[in-house]
Symmetry: D2
């Protein structure tokens, strides 16, 4: 009987970073579980990637997360790598956002990160290894005037990641964070910023490669926080 592939979960499997992460880890031999709210985005990746499988999941709901991970475990086995990419942003200042937007942003970026992490930690502890990679943003580090909802959500995620790293690294679980500091190259972002040169954008494949290398690091020299920033960006 064939050995089972190691399992990587991409939570937030939309186009861009989500799809690139799925591709990079599939290429390295992982079975990929794609978690997202709408099945539509799964279909294309399921067709493209051998061994990729989509699961409907609202990462902000404990019940939905529990159901999705139970299915992943039943279908593919225990999770070796969790790639937490969920987290769309609203961009407005404190007077313009609604409390509902503030909460929704936190629920997907931080609360869902906790829920999904708790699904994979026990088996990783038993195995004495595993990787949990959070996809952060500039807002993980700084609250800008127009990120009154997004930045607090990303800061909470970063702080959770740091707390987890400090308690889980000694158990062999590599918790880490990629700070995507720039605009990801997507048809949508290209359209929204016409005239920007190619080198303004971050290629999702570059983010995925950084994530992959993080999961390959020697435990005697792990990184917690790593930026992905386009070389032409002003920072």
């Amino acid at each position: 009987m064939a050995e089972r592939k190691p399992v990587a979960v991409v939570a937030g499997a939309g186009p861009g970073n989500g799809a690139a992460l799925a591709r990079r880890f599939a290429q390295a031999g992982y079975a990929i579980a794609l978690l997202s709210r709408s099945g539509a985005t799964h279909a294309a990746l399921e067709r493209e990637l051998t061994g990729a499988r989509g699961y409907d999941c609202d990462v902000g709901s404990g019940e939905s997360v529990a159901r999705a991970f139970a299915a992943v475990r039943a279908d593919l086995g225990e999770v070796s790598v969790l790639l937490y990419n969920a987290g769309p942003g609203v961009f407005a200042d404190v007077e313009s956002i609604t409390p509902e937007q503030f909460e929704a942003s936190w629920r997907v970026n931080a609360y869902g990160a906790l829920l999904c992490s708790r699904q994979v930690i026990p088996a990783m502890k038993t195995a004495g290894q595993g990787s949990i990679v959070f996809i952060g943003a500039t807002a993980s580090r700084r609250g800008g005037p127009r990120s009154a909802a997004f930045a607090p959500a990303k800061a909470a995620q970063r702080s959770l990641a740091e707390s987890m790293a400090r308690s889980l690294w000694p158990a062999g679980i590599h918790v880490c964070l990629i700070v995507v500091d720039g605009v990801v190259d997507l048809p949508r972002t290209r359209q929204g910023m016409p005239g920007k040169p190619d080198n303004f954008f971050i290629k999702p494949a570059a983010v995925a490669q950084i994530a992959f290398e993080l999961t390959r690091q020697d435990p005697s020299g792990w990184s917690f926080e790593v930026e992905a920033r386009p070389f032409g960006e002003t920072w």
Copy 2:
């Protein structure tokens, strides 16, 4: 007719920093509105401080916050200073906390900070002045292994404060944050850490004095983030 006193709201008016803030601003001539979940903590301060008045308020509930601030405005007038001190902590690692604790911590420290701020911003903008002071903690800056619920909540609060500072300072509203980096001197904390010397603890009056000075700074040189750390502390 006598001129009305300027109004300071202490959200989270428990013993310790809350009471000390109330005392410091009362002494400087402010009418004090004490917001807390249970009326019990108000009574003593109302008796002690002339012009202090308690309001029952669950800062995590939009409805409760709206009702409390409407009462404050009717009783005392528009708010000049918001001192956001709400935010008890749970101390446990990512495997021990419950998602409910994670959410409750965020709701009081971050969501409530947004709700209360939104109640006072419009009048402050009209007046072209006002102060919003958040009482943070070591966890505002760092996620420790045992602050998996508290640190993300405090990090979200800090990030919100920074976003607000960047959008509201130009309107004359001084948004700032005190990082209380140590253990506050309370009967409860003294009991929990027997044998610690006096100089291990932060006196609430010292925190209150820093808050007061922040509200008196010249706008040409405002501070955003200020620590309060006992001189004998190892950091």
Copy 3:
């Protein structure tokens, strides 16, 4: 016989922050020692402030520093407050600066800070109290493209201040840093940036007031790093 005034040293006693620091501490009853490279800047302040006295000093030279502090001690007594304000900046990128500029910037901002601190620490330790306040800049925290000489010098100063705070606070010596994050209001800077509104600039008196309040903090809640940033500034 009259009691001696406490002594404050202003190292880098030029116009702007240096003069404002001298004025603020003189007003509070300190005898002021003005240290700067050229006696010319002293003369006016000596005339203006009762009990202020100028000393020629190249802060980057161990011999010159030793001589100046020996004179201060002989004339005024042991130093209670050291206000380290020396540190002009060169603004150019890594390809444009010379190694000589890189070294000169470090020598005044960091090496001189060490030399002057070492002159005052022993008496402060004996007294069990004292304050050492460093005047930093935006560059203390960040290396900008055009601060290839200035930022490394200011970063070294900040790091030294932090190391000193950690070893000297427990001895009662309050080492701290003011991050002046903006352009100080001076005839020279006004001329160099014509058309800027008043609220663009930081008033030296505001920086001096922050420094003064730092020296008055209750040791149970000391601050290490405090910004002075104009409210209208974009950051």
Copy 4:
């Protein structure tokens, strides 16, 4: 005629990180120039690694640096990768260090970093590519009580690196920093800390691998600062 190998310079080619960097880049096909103060450390690596060549160099001396790089260029060609690993530390507090130690630490860690960088920038700019990797330490970020000489030197280096990154990335030169946050595994450090388990130490090969991957990153997603920290370390 054979194509020339790309050239990597290891400045600070002692045992530990220096040797590991040399090995990793030699394995990837680089000609390696080993710079260190004493030829003794070169000899073994020259024998071990094909195409490695040692150069006596005092990185704190402009003349010595100019001579060494002129020889490298003549022998091996223009430099593609500069790995700046020089920088021994002295560990003592502000009262125990001497000003000479403070200066010597800065001269090797910061001033030498500038001198060596200026030797390689022009050709990298012409080529539109190149990598400059600084090997930092915990002290790059924090001034501890006993790093009064080392931390300011490392902070200056980090700040210089950040300034360089901001001005040179757009020219295609990837300036970055590895924060080695722990104790490097060496016979000397093992002896100095007897009884520490294997997982306490950082393997030099892990640091070298991170450095190598940094030089391979896609320019659309470059990292500036990356930690190397043992998984069992408390941080």
